[in-house]
């Protein structure tokens, strides 16, 4: 039995996990909150990244979009972490020992990095991504990568239910 196996077995036997396992409506309710937060994040991210793909069209619109929708990408994240943690405690092995869950977490780290890389330069220079042909190309590539990562995260989230824990 690996250390992770042992941890999952221990966690599943704790009082909070037992309670979550025995109250039927908790898991779907927490999943509902989780999906609603994902909805806020991906719709907002789409607005920002579509503007990254259209960079060079008009004015400093990426910066305007990032100001407008950035908060809806960032502040659901703590709620997602909290609701995700509850789901892990409720069914430790289903997630922690599942390769798709690990993939989802890896994609999440990457998408945070990619989003920060896209938004951060705008703080000091709202027209940063418009300044040269090279930067415009960079914005389009970064926007496409970020969108692909979000799609991967949503798909991985659903596939956790279908891939058996390792």
């Amino acid at each position: 039995m690996s250390g992770l196996d042992a941890f999952c077995t221990w966690l599943a036997a704790t009082a909070p996990s037992q309670w979550l396992q025995n109250v039927e409506w908790i898991v779907p309710a927490v999943q509902t909150v989780h999906i609603l937060c994902v909805a806020a994040v991906v719709a907002s991210a789409l607005m920002i990244e579509l503007q990254m793909l259209r960079v060079g069209g008009r004015g400093a619109e990426v910066a305007a979009m990032a100001r407008r929708f950035g908060p809806f990408v960032w502040w659901p994240l703590p709620v997602l972490a909290a609701s995700g943690s509850v789901l892990i405690v409720a069914e430790p092995a289903r997630s922690l020992e599942n390769p798709v869950f690990v993939l989802k977490m890896a994609l999440l780290l990457l998408v945070v990095g990619a989003t920060v890389a896209g938004i951060r330069p705008l703080r000091t220079d709202p027209g940063y991504w418009e300044r040269s042909a090279g930067r415009r190309a960079g914005a389009r590539v970064l926007g496409a990568i970020t969108l692909a990562l979000w799609v991967g995260i949503v798909f991985a989230g659903r596939w956790i239910a279908y891939v058996r824990a390792a």
């Binding site: 509902t32 609603l36 596939w159």
Partner: protein, 166 residues
């Protein structure tokens, strides 16, 4: 009559392939989840603007124009993927209370939207701040938000009450 229709639907080649292939269902379901997060996330932005919670410096018409293309394209994808998932197991879905509630809530959200556009939405370009957002507009926004939260919750509960993976 309904059951007969469902059985016919289940017997189609597409429905049989989705039901019997091991990967079709989760892939289509992943597309469904991605599309519905975009539908709900984009509508939530409009609703929160109507309520006056966000984007007060921008007219409702502005916000609606920015979000609705995403809402409608995502809705077409969500409805199509949802129809395919339904077809694969039509009788069971048709008899599932949460599925029925979900369809009813989507219909109500549609009626709410039509009523809003007909009754209070026409002069939406004029509302520059929350103070001048008519009460009816705020009620329509809050109602829409609640209905869509209900849609997501029912969708999640279908997974726990039908004998498919959760």
């Amino acid at each position: 009559m309904l059951d007969e229709l469902c059985q016919r639907l289940e017997a189609t080649a597409v429905a049989t392939a989705i039901r019997e292939g091991s990967a079709w269902f989760p892939w289509i379901e992943s597309v469904h989840v991605l599309a519905l997060t975009l539908v709900v996330g984009s509508i939530a932005h409009v609703d929160l603007r109507l309520i006056g919670f966000v984007g007060r410096g921008r007219s409702v018409a502005d916000t609606t124009a920015a979000m609705l293309p995403i809402t409608w394209s995502a809705f077409v994808v969500a409805a199509t993927s949802g129809a395919l998932l339904f077809a694969s197991n039509a009788t069971a879905y048709a008899h599932n209370d949460f599925f029925r509630a979900k369809i009813a809530l989507i219909a109500l959200a549609g009626v709410n939207m039509l009523a809003f556009h007909g009754l209070v939405g026409r002069d939406a370009a004029g509302w520059r701040d929350a103070a001048s957002t008519p009460r009816r507009a705020r009620v329509a926004g809050a109602l829409s938000l609640l209905l869509w939260i209900g849609v997501v919750a029912c969708g999640r509960w279908i997974g726990f009450t039908l004998s498919a993976p959760t």
